[in-house]
């Protein structure tokens, strides 16, 4: 079958998201047109979303287009970096979390060898400290938890 996978997949995403919101909107009061309840608008918009999604799938059946290529390595490393930051920023403090964030996300490009990764982590953390802690005095401890003695 000829189809534009981008449109069909995209249309399905729109339908899925809309269906999720539509499902929950039944739990909220719909109300009357004078006194609309909290469910009125979500119901209307998510129903519209389902229709748009269907139209997208339909329009995708008209032309053919290849699947896009996914940049797995950057997607995974940047995600891992952000997760590491989120998990450590309160328990270890801002600076250790920043070191992890930069080091892990820097691996995303295979040209960044160990030296570059470490260099970036150190330089970036110093920069972060200068701007956010020294400059803007953001109320976040540089070191926390087990590292708070530093």
């Amino acid at each position: 079958m000829r189809m534009n996978v981008r449109d069909t997949v995209g249309g399905s995403v729109v339908i899925l998201v809309s269906a999720f919101f539509l499902w929950f909107s039944f739990g909220y009061e719909i109300g009357t047109s004078r006194r609309m309840g909290p469910g009125y608008f979500p119901l209307v918009v998510s129903s519209l979303g389902v229709l748009i999604g269907i139209a997208l799938i339909a329009s995708g059946l008209r032309f053919e287009a290849p699947l896009p290529r996914v940049a797995w390595r950057p997607a995974l490393t940047v995600s891992a970096g952000l997760i590491a930051f989120g998990l450590t920023v309160t328990s270890l403090g801002l600076l250790p979390a920043t070191v992890l964030l930069i080091a892990i996300s820097a691996v995303g490009n295979p040209e960044n060898r160990l030296g570059a990764v470490l260099g970036l982590a150190v330089a970036g953390t110093v920069l972060a400290w200068l701007i956010f802690i020294v400059g803007l005095s953001v109320p976040v401890p540089s070191f926390a938890g087990v590292l708070s003695w530093i």
Binding site: G10, V13, V45, I52, A55, L120, V140
Partner: protein, 505 residues
């Protein structure tokens, strides 16, 4: 005229000028940091102004405001990370220009268009305050709803070759906007019982996710590790004659739209910038250039944004009604000094009002003087190989977002939106309509329900009000155009397998 002159004399003291310069510099610097927009910068500096003369205080805060807005445009152009909704539009053509090695041109056009838009906005502010006020007051809930319907449709059309995809993103933006406490009833919607979501998704995390993280994932593997092709020559810093010629009318059209939209509390600048973008795309001889580095696509929205920022001061000062959270903070600064903005403000404090108007212009000039020489510096930043640059951008985003609310949840949101945005980008769905709908949606719902509450549940108020009726007719025309255009749709010229690396979509 006398009063304006007096205003300049009042504003142009050495002290005021230096605070203005300080404000613009701080604002630009802070505005470049992701997550810290005008509101956060002004709030941080508010306590300083307790100890200043009221005019000086406001001049400095106005400087911060301009600087931060401009800072947001800088990051939009250089790294595709908008500082706010208004600058999300600047990303569309500014970033492709930067990738072509023309970041200098983009920044130059931004600076000049902002200056022109701002200056004309100030003239309107000076001459037409009563008229603008009348427009602002004539906009009730029904008129708001109609202008937002029009805005959403314009949003769907600003990027991507398929309006249907744009509308799909608009719908998802609207849905995301529902998350949080419903203002009318107080019911928590879509919060999944997470207290972090009680006040909804923050605009900053959404923008960082769908623009910032998405762009980074997409660009990390850029060949040769260099963001821009070739060396930066002087000729790529300054717009050539053709680019100047192409920017003139868009700048003026954008200014006009900005002046009209500015007095609408809450939505003015953002609405102005993407409606003017949509308009330019409509009137252009070759609309396909848009999104691939058209200077018109920067000049018009930037002029519109800045003109709107100026006219947005009108309701704040002349009615005592702040149009945005930022304006509310500025008004707070005045009230701390015992000055209540409102209908009597201009009569009771002409020195402050005109001093302020004069200082707006001085602030714009300073922004120009400060930033033209800085363009070279900013552009040099892009010569750093992207593989070194992107970990730093991730760092700025993560810390910037975290420092806003000290909430780890915001980091998870950025990640989730980033992956979602990346997926949608691979499928050819543009992020800008999502962001714009997310902003406009809650306001539209709020006003829609309020309009019906006030109108006793009768839908005809939307058509019977002349302003609202006209706006809806325009919206209908746009829908018809969509449908006709959709039927004529040619096979898509979307990028093939290399699409993952191409940003100009």
């Amino acid at each position: 005229m006398d009063l304006i002159l007096q205003g300049f004399i009042h504003a142009a003291t050495l002290e005021n000028l230096s605070y203005c310069l300080l404000g613009v510099t701080l604002g630009t610097f802070v505005g470049v940091l992701p997550g810290i927009g005008p509101l956060a910068s002004i709030s941080m500096l508010l306590p300083v102004t307790f100890y200043l003369d009221p005019t000086t205080a406001l001049i400095m805060l106005a400087g911060v405001y301009y600087g931060a807005e401009y800072g947001g445009s800088i990051t939009s152009i250089l790294i595709n990370l908008p500082g706010g909704t208004a600058s999300a539009v600047t990303c569309l053509d500014g970033y492709p220009l930067a990738r072509q090695g023309k970041a200098g041109v983009a920044l130059f056009v931004t600076t000049i268009a902002s200056f022109v838009g701002g200056s004309i906005g100030i003239i309107i502010l000076t001459l037409l305050t009563p008229l603008v006020l009348a427009v602002g007051l004539a906009f009730g809930p029904a008129e708001y709803v109609s202008v937002m319907v029009l805005g959403l449709l314009a949003a769907a059309s600003i990027s991507s070759d398929s309006p249907l995809k744009g509308i799909g993103m608009v719908v998802m933006g609207l849905l995301l906007g529902f998350v949080g406490t419903d203002i009318n009833s107080g019911v928590m919607r879509y919060t999944l019982n997470l207290s972090d979501l009680f006040d909804g998704v923050s605009i900053v995390t959404l923008a960082m996710g769908v623009f910032g993280v998405t762009e980074i994932i997409d660009s990390v593997l850029t060949p040769k590790g260099q963001m821009i092709a070739g060396k930066i020559r002087l000729s790529s810093m300054i717009p050539n004659r053709n680019e100047v010629r192409r920017s003139v009318f868009p700048t003026l059209r954008g200014t006009m739209i900005g002046c009209l939209a500015g007095p609408l509390p809450g939505v003015g600048p953002a609405l102005a910038s993407f409606v003017s973008y949509a308009l330019e795309k409509r009137v252009a001889r070759d609309p396909s250039r848009f999104g691939k580095g058209a200077v018109e696509g920067i000049a018009s929205p930037e002029a519109a944004n800045n003109a709107a920022v100026q006219t947005a001061f009108i309701p704040t000062l002349a009615l005592g009604v702040p149009g945005s959270a930022t304006m509310a903070v500025m008004m707070g600064a005045l009230m701390i000094h015992g000055i209540a903005p409102g209908p009597n403000f201009i009569v009771k404090h002409p020195d402050i009002f005109w001093g302020l108007v004069a200082s707006f212009w001085i602030g714009n000039v300073m922004l120009l003087v400060l930033n033209i020489p800085m363009i070279g510096v900013w552009v040099r930043l892009l010569q750093i190989p992207y593989r070194f640059l992107y970990p730093m951008i991730v760092m700025f985003m993560a810390i910037g977002a975290y420092s806003m609310n000290l909430s780890v949840f915001d980091i998870w949101l950025i990640l989730a939106f980033g992956l979602f945005g990346y997926g949608m980008r691979l499928l050819g769905f543009p992020p800008a309509p999502l962001l714009i709908a997310f902003i406009l949606g809650p306001m539209m719902e709020e006003n829609f329900r309020r309009a019906l509450l006030l109108g006793g549940g009768d839908f005809s108020i939307f058509i019977l009000s002349p302003i609202s009726g006209c706006l809806l007719a325009l919206a209908l025309a746009l829908v018809v155009w969509f449908v006709l255009n959709g039927l004529r749709r040619r096979p898509p010229q979307e990028p093939d397998g290399e699409g993952a690396l191409s940003s100009a979509e």
